[in-house]
């Protein structure tokens, strides 16, 4: 389209020149993004790697004195400390619990939506969209109040249902186990719509013919789902699953806000909140914790990155 050259050698050099000029303009267009990412992600990232091997503290920052290189001291200190392994275990536990419930709930609701008539389906969609749109912090505040010790709806309802005073001023957030229960409800409530809608869209792409053929061959409803529908939507669910794992590994807002409503922070911390609560001071150690989080997250995300790259190539 551009090349209108007549002589063969001339065309070649022109093509080469054009490619080079294309390359230059492309990189020129990328400069602002690269500069911003380098400044706000690259620089702190490299600083974090470096500082995680030093004993850099707020004192060094104020006095301007250099920190000492301490090799892996920060990492051994963290990994052998009393609370970090517990926090990591709790983070993974909550991740597994919430992810499982979200995936199962989301898929079931998606299947349900295919069974509903139009009006009812619209109603369910509107409800899910509303739940999806609510900011996590607001959701936590509202759910936190529903489970409030004194004026919460749950305690009132349980009291009215059982007709006793057992649930009077029951502190749901004080016990780490019920804290996790409330947290799970908040997270699952907020995340199910995404899974449900994505799975629903995936179900729409399941080939009708295959389902009909299976039906003619005598497959029952469950069998059809398991051997036709499920394999067809598995790639979609795989992507969603990875995203859920990542998001549920780095919960912050819900945990933090719920803690400030009456949870015991030391017994309910998850990784990012734990890091936040280290506060400003031991930059070497907080960097090391950050490094551990990044490594864990990238290891989990690797599959997802490859999936997205495949998408780009096609």
């Amino acid at each position: 389209m551009y090349a209108t050259a007549s002589a063969v050698p001339a065309r070649e050099t022109r093509a080469k020149r054009r490619r080079r000029s294309q390359s230059i303009s492309a990189w020129a267009l990328l400069v602002p993004s690269i500069a911003l990412i380098a400044l706000m992600v690259g620089y702190p990232g490299i600083t974090m790697v470096w500082q995680s091997f030093t004993d850099y503290q707020v004192r060094n920052k104020i006095q301007g004195t250099p920190a000492n290189f301490v090799w892996f001291e920060n990492f051994t200190k963290i990994l052998t400390s009393s609370d970090f392994p517990a926090v990591l275990g709790r983070t993974i536990g909550i991740m597994v619990l919430t992810t499982t419930l979200i995936m199962i709930g989301g898929i079931l609701i998606a299947v349900l939506m295919t069974k509903l008539r139009r009006g009812m389906r619209l109603l369910v969609s509107v409800g899910l969209l509303l739940a999806w749109a609510i900011p996590p912090l607001t959701a936590t505040v509202v759910w936190g109040f529903i489970f409030d010790t004194e004026y919460g709806l749950v305690n009132w309802a349980l009291g009215a249902l059982t007709g006793t005073n057992d649930w009077h001023n029951h502190p749901w957030l004080l016990n780490p186990w019920t804290f996790v229960m409330v947290l799970t409800i908040i997270v699952v409530w907020g995340a199910i719509p995404f899974v449900a809608f994505t799975a629903y869209a995936g179900l729409g792409q399941v080939p009708r013919e295959a389902l009909e053929a299976a039906e003619i061959d005598g497959a029952g409803g469950w069998q059809r789902f398991w051997s036709v529908t499920f394999p067809a939507i598995r790639p979609v669910l795989g992507g969603v699953l990875i995203l859920q794992i990542i998001w549920n590994m780095k919960l912050f807002t819900q945990v933090y806000a719920l803690q400030s409503r009456g949870g015991i922070a030391a017994e309910t911390n998850v990784l990012p909140v734990y890091l936040f609560r280290q506060g400003i001071g031991e930059f070497g150690q907080t960097s090391a914790i950050g490094m551990l989080i990044v490594v864990i997250m990238l290891a989990i995300s690797w599959y997802n990155i490859r999936l997205l790259l495949k998408d780009d190539d096609s």
Binding site: L29, I37, A131, T138, G204, Q205, P272, M291
Partner: protein, 304 residues
């Protein structure tokens, strides 16, 4: 909503044409499914409804431990309190936090869209060495949880003398939304067939002219929905705002957090009113873009 979440959602796609499996015929099953559907609806909506309900309920009725389905004596006093009272002694009030949030969000949306738009043109319209490396880099940056670096970012912002300033938090937000805005816009630009531009060039346009006059107008919906996602992310962002902003510079989420921890028990109505106010713009924007939200992940994965 996190960067990741939004990124997954915003990927543009052809609309999935679907013909849902036929609704169930047997009446007994239909009733059952309708009941389950109603339960799902109620569970999804209930907390939102309860928030709005309490925001109109007078404080003395909230603490009377006798909840009612609709406020018996609806009042706007909670909204007035939420609007006028400082979050905590020495901290900002709602209008101030609203201004702070709006300024930051507008700066973030404009800057992120502009920068990401340039990058997305490069990725979607140019073949150049390093393209693949750049995309991998974007995805890796996207996967790094920003929270992990919170204290080094804190130090960086401090070193730039931007601590507790709108500019400082806006920079942090811009950097955190840029990877996904690039990724999303790249898809939108690639979705406009290059043949359209080529046709315009044959008709005598220069290359930039062809892009500007043919492709750009077709990108408007993509820019709007990507912008709305950047908006929602910055509007809802909590962690870094909590770390970087103090006193009179609180954003809305940090205002709400202070407000709910500081106000005494009698003011739950005001907390709910504040929550409701914060939700309104997000819900509106969310409903505008919801049509584009699913499907991206689907088509990409199914195609694989």
């Amino acid at each position: 909503m996190t960067a990741l979440q939004t990124r997954a959602l915003v990927m543009p796609t052809r609309r999935v044409r679907r013909s849902p499996a036929s609704p169930v015929r047997r009446p007994a099953n239909r009733v059952l499914f309708n009941i389950i559907g109603a339960v799902v609806f109620v569970c999804s909506v209930f907390p939102v409804y309860w928030m709005v309900n309490l925001s109109f309920t007078p404080g003395n009725q909230i603490i009377s431990r006798d909840p009612s389905v609709v406020p018996r004596e609806p009042t706007l006093r909670n909204f007035v309190t939420a609007w006028t009272r400082p979050a905590a002694p020495g901290q900002t009030d709602f209008p101030n936090a609203l201004t702070t949030s709006l300024v930051i969000v507008i700066v973030v949306v404009i800057a992120a869209l502009f920068v990401a738009f340039l990058a997305s043109i490069a990725l979607a319209r140019f073949a150049f060495r390093g393209r693949h490396a750049f995309i991998v880099g974007i995805l890796v940056v996207q996967m790094i949880p920003g929270e992990a670096m919170m204290f080094t970012v804190y130090n960086l912002v401090d070193d730039m003398r931007l601590m507790n300033t709108l500019m400082g938090l806006a920079l942090v937000h811009i950097a955190s939304v840029i990877p996904f805005t690039i990724w999303a816009l790249r898809g939108f630009v690639a979705g406009v067939p290059i043949e359209l531009e080529e046709a315009a060039q044959i008709d005598g346009c220069s290359k930039p002219q062809a892009f500007w006059k043919v492709t750009f107008p077709l990108l408007a919906p993509g820019l709007v929905s990507t912008g709305i996602f950047a908006f929602m992310q910055s509007w809802n962002e909590f962690t870094m705002a909590l770390l970087l902003m103090k006193g009179s510079n609180l954003t809305l989420p940090t205002w709400l957090n202070s407000f709910q921890s500081a106000t005494e028990a009698t003011n739950y109505g005001a907390v709910m009113a504040g929550s409701t106010l914060i939700c309104i713009p997000v819900v509106i924007f969310f409903l505008i873009v919801q049509g584009r939200m699913t499907g991206g992940l689907v088509s990409g994965a199914v195609k694989g």
